[in-house]
Amino acid sequence: MPIHTDTVRKKFPILETEVNGHPLIYFDNAATTQKPDMVMDRLRTYYERENSNIHRGAHFLSQQATEAYEAARGTMQSFINAKYPYEIIFTRGATESINLVAHSFCNKFVKAGDEVLISAMEHHSNIVPWQIACKEKQADLKVIPMNEKGELRMSAFRDLLGAKTRLVAVTHVSNALGTINPVKEMIELAHEKNIPVLIDGAQATPHMTVDVQALDCDFYCFSGHKMYGPMGVGVLYGKEVWLNQMPPYQSGGEMIKEVSFKKTTYNELPFKFEAGTPNVADVLGMEAAIKFILELGHTHIAAHENDLLAYAIEKLKQLDNIRFIGTAGKRTSVVSFLFEDIHPYDTGIILDKLGIAVRTGHHCAQPIMDFYRIPGTIRVSLAVYNTRREIDLLVDALARVREMFG
């Protein structure tokens, strides 16, 4: 069913907030989305009636919580169409998922002189972990360049895939530009040379259906809080063949099979990578968020968001001195821009005064700002509850900014 925003918005009580005397307009969804009732209800129910430590006690509550947690793993599995449930590792979010692979994979498979390949449009969380891992291993970090529109240069990518490349780590959707990268094609090219690929899907899962088997990616990472779920929970998908060979990332309870002071044997997948008491409540909250998305349907969500994106671009174009950053042919849910004659920070302050939440600055992607030689952008990132009316109000507010600074 097409998205009916009035109905959807009723599920998000925070959208009724007033900011500086104006109704809140929330356009900072790429940073984090708001949470629907069903997610908050799930957290509450868990702590009210189900709370217990899982995989340990033989008692009723522990068993119930364990079953709920493992059922949530099954939900994640079918959400991204993973082959096995144990290929789903729960983490604190996409950042931890990337850190896990950077640490554990590089530990095992990367040696001095090898190369790891990332792209020019990565979020800092898909740059820094590789920098650290490469430094430790005396390996080189190589960067796939992009063009002025904010699209990866595929011929350069082909050239960079070499005998020394051990892994490609690239974002599915750029958080700062909204570009949808041709990840399927990139994975095919890398696999021709037997190079595994990690996809950072934090900005993709809220907006599109992801099928890790169809993509054939080796790792896929995403966060709960960017897709209507709680903060502090996320997923690492990894192909069994890799996860089995990789050493544990953190150690403690749960990840072990047998422990003596001489020797420890590790548990099997997925527990080998889930040391300590897991974040059960937020995993269940994330499951509720996935149910929320599936009930609306990715197709309808995408149709609604694409309509808003096209509408926003069309309206914003009419403002004087506006410069769009990121004009890729394939993009989703993000429009990044600045006025040539007004600092993005100044614009952001006035928008805030008018109750409009946008992100200003470098969006944790400084190399992109360096590439365009700009101090930052104003990023409007859309979600299923946004409306055309909100975009009209944004454009009015920006016209007011122009009056004040122009």
Partner: protein, 140 residues
């Protein structure tokens, strides 16, 4: 010459005249436009106070027992607030600057610009202004 406290009080009284935030921000923008700033060629890294959103450059000179500040920013609202800070602190003895009460920023409703999340360099700028004063005080 007025003391730091008197100048801060003057600023507070000026801001009390504004009925709404628009007037207030228009005034700050005007102050930002009027700030002489600093020459492009001395916008060196050693004067740069980095913020995630806006940059600030701060230069301090010690002359005849008084500290003279000049500063600049790439964002206009930040420049306007810089103009206020300079107006209140510049031209005073190091010991007075070190001890200066900066709560007037809060009183005129601009505290939000000093929060860590704004990350525009202003908070560090105030710290840096006081650090310069402290250094000059110890050189005396």
């Amino acid at each position: 010459m007025a003391t730091i406290r008197e100048k801060a009080q003057e600023v507070i009284e000026e801001f009390e005249l504004f009925d709404d935030w628009m007037d207030k921000y228009n005034y700050i923008i005007d102050l930002g436009k009027a700030l002489p700033g600093i020459d492009e060629n001395i916008k060196e890294d050693k004067y740069l106070i980095k913020g995630c959103q806006a940059q600030v450059w701060l230069v301090a000179e010690y002359n005849g027992g008084k500290v003279i500040y000049s500063a600049d920013s790439d964002a206009l609202i930040t420049r306007g607030i810089i103009a206020l800070l300079i107006r209140v602190l510049s031209g005073h003895a190091p010991e007075d600057i070190v001890e200066a009460d900066m709560s007037f920023i809060d009183r005129i409703g601009l505290k939000e610009h000093l929060s860590a999340t704004r990350s525009n360099g202003l908070l560090n700028m105030i710290k840096q202004m006081k650090l310069y004063a402290l250094a000059f005080q110890q050189k005396k």
